[in-house]
């Protein structure tokens, strides 16, 4: 780090400048700076939920867009997500205490027979970066695992990942089981993975196919706002 950069004293910035600076620091994956920024905003009387949505989620949205556009790649996103995590660790207990609204909750896992998880992990991190609560079931999940997690976690969204052309049809098994049990409409089902495409997502009855982690976040937000609107209207 150069001397010039050391010259930035976060506590001397006004709120607006500080949030902008935190966007940059998230982009650069600077965990300590993000933790410091979060603490300063809290000391200044910001609500934990406001810090989350305006500073952290705002910054991660920029990271997500540049990932989607092929400007940032996996290493940069992992660093940014790690910095975000530092900030979240401070906010999490406070959010629970203050009864902040929930952005949304997702259960995610790679389907049975498939052991790939880098893509799924990226989606988890980016979803957390967007303020979602994520329950990660890991790899190689039979339909029973999904059903059990949906029962106990009561998420808004079910995410499934597959990286093999031979395992992607299993997503349909899970969706068909949900239909059989009359639970399909209780969840938004998002699917993703390298060999998938939109046509496939439609063919198996998912709500959406997500090309990458950034698109997954955008799609999840979109469905959550539709859900809120529906609740408000209903």
């Amino acid at each position: 780090m150069s001397d010039e950069e050391d010259d930035i004293i976060l506590s001397e910035l006004d709120d607006e400048e500080l949030v902008q600076q935190m966007f940059d620091d998230l982009y650069d994956g600077l965990k300590e700076e993000i933790e410091e920024g979060v603490n300063i905003l809290l000391e200044r009387g910001w609500q934990p939920y406001q810090v989350l949505t305006e500073a952290l989620v705002g910054g991660m949205t920029i990271v997500g867009k540049d990932f989607r556009d092929g400007i940032l790649f996996v290493p940069e996103v992992l660093l940014a997500a790690n910095a975000m995590k530092g900030g979240m660790a401070i906010l999490k207990p406070l959010l629970a205490e203050t009864g902040a609204p929930r952005v949304g909750k997702m259960v995610i896992g790679t389907v049975k027979g498939d052991i790939h998880d880098i893509g799924k992990n990226l989606v988890s991190m980016m979803m957390e970066g967007a303020g979602f609560e994520v329950v990660d079931l890991g790899i190689n999940n039979p339909v029973e695992n999904y059903l059990e997690a949906l029962e106990t976690e009561e998420p808004d969204i079910l995410g499934m990942s597959a990286l093999l052309t031979t395992t992607m049809p299993y997503m349909k098994v899970v969706i068909d089981t949900l239909i059989e049990q009359g639970k399909r409409d209780d969840y938004v089902v998002l699917v993703g993975g390298a060999p998938l495409n939109e046509e496939f997502g439609r063919a198996i009855g998912a709500d959406a196919y997500c090309r990458d982690a950034a698109v997954a976040v955008e799609t999840a937000k979109d469905f959550m706002s539709r859900k809120h609107n529906k609740l408000a209207a209903g």
Partner: protein
């Protein structure tokens, strides 16, 4: 030190490598989710058939059934202790098939990625990655592989760890990466980055290149990216037979044998020396590729337009090389 691959390269303008391993094994009844490497032990006859089909279709070189045969991948099947053994058997079967032919056939010991993200971003340290690759390399060497063949790598740290491990095993090697994200590897490496990185290695590969990814067009754009760096090192092109499509409950790759024949010729004309397929590439594709390489005279280096005209559109507008590289949007601002 001479090895079978270097000898063959000295006598030929191009070498036909093999096609898919997974796609072929699934057609033989491998269940999705099972580790293909278990079949080295359980169904050696089927693995021998897999190799034989490639050579009979015209391949000069085939990869062993050991792609996921490292301890990190086998751990997911509770078989991490069998990495060396299963790799050894895959090469032994390969040796016995290759030696039946009266022309030189190269047994290339496949080494796939660990599937882990390397430190500092992830948990896998350089030392541990070297150890994992070294163990598999020793197994493939014991089994009689002519060369080691690193493939589908996305992080340069992992490529470097493998290079170091192969030096420990004292084996010649080749290594390809998979360029599947906007023309770059998942970790953001461009074709130009890879060509530069390879020349800086203490133990460089005999040949380097690209495999898998997203379709034949993208792969050739990557090859042109390597060539533009002016490397003298032989270049490998192992692209998928098109793109997987979902039809009536099953998946198939949309690249026809004719398309792969065009791809093979364009790959050679673009500057690749070792040419083969990857996912979806079956023996019938390889036969057409062989025939095309033998029958069609070498042409001028194709342009990007000629590639897309013959093989279809690229998956992204740019691949991160040349002038039109999107720059990171933000960096830490400084106070004036």
């Amino acid at each position: 030190m001479t090895n079978a691959l270097t000898k063959l390269l000295a006598t030929r303008d191009w070498i036909l490598a093999d096609g898919a391993t997974g796609t072929n094994l699934f057609n033989m009844g491998l269940e999705s989710g099972d580790a293909p490497e278990m079949w080295n032990d359980e169904h050696p006859d089927r693995i021998a058939l897999l190799y034989k089909q490639a050579v009979d279709a015209g391949s000069d070189l085939f990869l062993t059934n050991s792609f996921g045969g490292n301890a990190a991948r086998l751990k997911l099947h509770g078989a991490q202790k069998r990495a060396r053994e299963l790799s050894r058997i895959s090469a032994e079967i390969g040796r016995s098939v290759a030696d039946r032919y009266d022309r030189p056939v190269i047994v290339a010991g496949s080494v796939g990625p660990t599937g882990e993200i390397m430190a500092p971003m992830g948990a896998l340290t350089h030392e541990l990655a070297v150890e994992i690759f070294h163990e598999q390399a020793e197994g493939l060497k014991e089994g009689g592989a002519d060369v080691l063949w690193l493939e589908t790598i996305s992080a340069q740290e992992e490529y470097k760890a493998a290079a170091e491990a192969f030096k420990l095993a004292d084996m010649p090697w080749c290594g390809t990466m998979s360029f599947d994200t906007a023309g770059r590897t998942m970790m953001g490496l461009t074709s130009a980055d890879m060509a530069t990185m390879v020349e800086k290695l203490g133990n460089p590969p005999l040949a380097f290149g690209a495999n898998c990814g997203v379709g034949a067009s993208d792969l050739l754009r990557t090859v042109l990216g390597f060539v533009a760096q002016g490397s003298e090192r032989p270049i490998i092109a192992k692209g998928n037979a098109g793109i997987p499509k979902y039809h009536d409950g099953h998946i198939h790759y949309d690249g026809t044998p004719e398309l792969m024949a065009d791809y093979a010729v364009l790959a050679r004309d673009a500057g690749a020396t070792i040419i083969g397929g990857c996912c979806g590439t079956m023996p019938e594709h390889l036969s057409k590729m062989r025939a095309a390489l033998e029958e069609r005279p070498k042409g001028p280096r194709p342009t990007l337009d000629q590639i897309t005209d013959a093989l279809g559109a690229f998956s992204s507008a740019a691949d991160g090389t040349g002038d039109d590289v999107p720059a990171p949007r933000r960096t830490r601002r400084r106070r004036a």
